[in-house]
């Protein structure tokens, strides 16, 4: 692994207050991400992927119960910053965000070009509006949006074009980290492939660091250097992409991979019986144990995060003896 760590997350927790009790959406997540790498976070719906992204971005809803842990980004401990410092030093300066619901993520009453230029002007990246517009044109060209769209409004654009505009917006200030939360899940397959290709090309051109959150394992393999599997608010497995896609360790990862359709092999698609546990009062011990085919007596206790010899981390009792 590279020593040039861009993002280091330690024991990040984000709990929500609900009428039924405290919901542990992100429950002690730790990981590192080196510069110029792309990490894919996969998992079922409701496993805390999006909450993790929001915890890193500090985009919190109103019903937060606990928000703790450490997030080192590019040499700064950002959790120690207050809201105003965080806004000035981190938001869209160091990291930008492409949200899940791209259809409604643009301001309906501001022209698209002005919206893309907004972060440049707020964070004083440019001296003049004219210079900002030059940068906007550059960014739009990069993601493949025709320049005459700049004077249009969001409702005049198709879903795919809106998503591209938001990606352009995420790139315009040249942040060190871009977090993409299911950037293509609302789009048709052709547009998805198109945008994925653009993302791949842009990463090569700009040497960006991505965190890509998705439940589309097949598509994500195209982009990933690192992978992380989340289950019930926790990290089940963390790995370099090669190892993960070929030989997943965690029983959940194995079953997840087995459920991905492949074109040439004639395999029976597997599914995982049962459903993920409630994140309100989750069960003691391993959270996957009730659905795990390989469970044994130890699984009643919370498994440790075992670091394997090639740097991969897996939270499972099966591997405690095989640690490096």
């Amino acid at each position: 692994m590279s020593n040039d760590i861009l993002l280091k997350v330690e024991d990040l927790r984000l709990y929500f207050r609900t009428t039924k009790g405290v919901l542990r959406a992100v429950d002690g997540v730790s990981f590192e991400l080196a510069r110029d790498r792309a990490m894919v976070i996969v998992g079922e719906s409701g496993c805390g992927k999006t909450s993790l992204a929001r915890a890193i971005l500090r985009l919190l809803p109103r019903n937060v119960h606990t928000y703790s842990g450490q997030v080192h980004l590019d040499g700064t401990e950002v959790m120690a910053l207050n809201e105003e410092q965080f806004r000035r030093q981190v938001r869209w300066v160091k990291m930008s965000f492409v949200p899940q619901a791209a259809m409604n993520a643009l301001n309906p009453v501001v022209r698209v070009g002005d919206q893309v230029a907004e972060p440049l002007l707020i964070h004083n990246h440019v001296k003049s509006k004219k210079e900002a517009m030059g940068r906007v044109e550059e960014a739009l060209r990069l993601v493949g949006v025709p320049l005459d769209f700049m004077t249009r409004y969001a409702f005049e654009l198709s879903g795919g074009m809106r998503q591209r505009v938001i990606i352009a917006m995420a790139l315009v200030t040249s942040p060190v980290l871009v977090i993409l939360d299911e950037p293509t899940s609302a789009l048709d397959v052709l547009t998805q492939a198109n945008i994925m290709n653009s993302l791949k090309r842009i990463r090569k051109e700009l040497a960006l660091t991505y965190i890509l959150i998705t439940h589309d394992i097949a598509t994500s393999s195209e982009l990933a250097n690192e992978s992380m599997v989340m289950y019930a608010g926790q990290v089940a497995e963390r790995s370099h992409a090669g190892g993960f896609y070929k030989t997943p360790f965690h029983p959940y990862s194995k079953m997840l991979m087995a459920s991905v359709p492949t074109l040439r092999e004639d395999k029976e698609l597997a599914f995982i019986p049962g459903k993920p546990p409630s994140l309100i009062n989750p069960p003691e011990g391993c959270r996957f144990a009730p659905r795990c085919p390989e469970r044994f007596s130890k699984c009643d206790q919370d498994p440790p995060a075992v670091t394997m010899e090639d740097g991969r981390v897996v939270k499972c009792w099966l591997y405690t003896g095989k640690a490096r």
């Binding site: 985009l59 409604n104 993520a105 501001v110």
Partner: protein
């Protein structure tokens, strides 16, 4: 298209008002009976007719009643007359009142209304503008401080609006006028009115304190609560969230991402509030003895003065239709999603 629809609903609304104000023609019968009684008293009380035989007296009474009914147009059936009312109302020919007069003695409905208008506008413009902007800013402030003590207090006080303004008016009069003797019981100026303009204004202001306070007590908390909830819902929209992620300062975010997209709604509320001032408030003005249009309405209803009731209603109806029409145009200016054009109608 939109204009036509407005005109038709205006017509229907006005006709209903005419019909109801006349109690479906029943008012005509009341007035006929009144005329007969008046004429009877006149004729029988007149010494020149005293000597005539009873049948002759009755003939004279009938004659005069018929003449009076013809003069007032009561000889024609109500349905026909109702359309006459409608035609005059639509052309803003307000005509003459039947009983009420202006303070200067005129029976012109126009003059009667104009005389009452400043009083109503002074009171309601003050109260409504205060209420509107106070609830807008407080709502915005509370949506920022969601869950704070002040927020909880406002929510707890919202049911206060279940009682109307005049209810608080009575209580306020009891406390500040009757008990503490700090403020006047009602009316608009001291009697006799102060000579200087400044003195006059101060006197009016003093008389306005209690009615404005009463309206504020009744209206404020529910509107702040409504605005706060409105802004809370809008501030969790996806585009606001992304704006926050972009690092837009909180004030700019509120202005450009919350207020701008919701501007059509706020403008609508404001415009409807503006024209609602025209009608005043019937009971509140009566409680505070305020010489405005609301009290005029009450007085007109008591004596079945249809032209006055109709005059007030028709102007309100025209103001409402005009406002709705203007709003359509304003929407297209402030919101790019609305386009006014051939066949577009009210596209949203």
């Amino acid at each position: 298209m939109r204009g036509l629809a407005l005109a038709v609903s205006l017509l229907i609304g006005l006709y209903l008002t005419i019909y109801i104000a006349n109690m479906g023609g029943y008012v005509d019968r009341i007035r006929k009976a009144e005329i007969r009684e008046q004429v009877g008293v006149q004729v029988l009380g007149d010494p020149t007719f005293k000597q005539l035989p009873a049948s002759e007296q009755r003939r004279i009474i009938d004659e005069r009643v018929a003449l009076e009914e013809k003069r007032l147009g009561l000889d024609k059936p109500f349905i026909l007359r109702s359309f006459g009312y409608l035609a005059r109302a639509m052309t803003l020919n307000l005509g003459r009142s039947e009983h009420l007069t202006s303070d200067s003695g005129s029976r012109q409905v126009r003059l009667i209304l104009l005389e009452r208008l400043p009083a109503t506008l002074t009171l309601f413009a003050t109260a409504n503008l205060l209420l509107f902007f106070l609830s807008l800013y407080m709502g915005l402030y509370l949506s920022r401080k969601y869950g704070s003590l002040l927020d909880k207090i406002t929510i707890a006080l919202a049911p206060m609006s279940a009682a109307p303004g005049w209810f608080y008016g009575i209580i306020l009069i009891l406390i500040f006028a009757s008990l503490l003797r700090l403020l006047p019981f009602g009316g608009m100026v001291d009697a006799p009115p102060p000579k200087t303009t400044l003195g006059y204004a101060l006197s009016v202001a003093k008389h306005m304190v209690l009615p404005v306070l009463a309206m504020t007590l009744s209206g404020l908390f529910i509107s702040v609560y409504g605005r706060r909830t409105f802004f809370l819902i809008f501030s969790s929209e996806d585009h606001v969230e992304l704006g926050r992620a972009k690092g837009i300062p909180p004030r700019a975010l509120e202005r450009r991402y919350i207020l701008r997209p919701t501007l059509p709604v706020i403008i609508t509320n404001f415009a409807l509030m503006l024209i609602a001032m025209w009608t005043g408030a019937i009971i509140l003005e009566t409680v505070f003895n305020w010489p405005g249009l609301g009290r005029l309405y009450y007085e007109a209803v008591q004596v079945f003065d249809t032209p006055v009731i109709l005059g007030e209603t028709v102007i309100y109806a025209y103001l409402l239709a005009l406002t709705l029409f203007l709003l359509d145009i304003i929407y297209a200016i402030v919101d790019p999603r609305v386009k006014v054009g051939a066949g577009a109608g009210a596209a949203a």
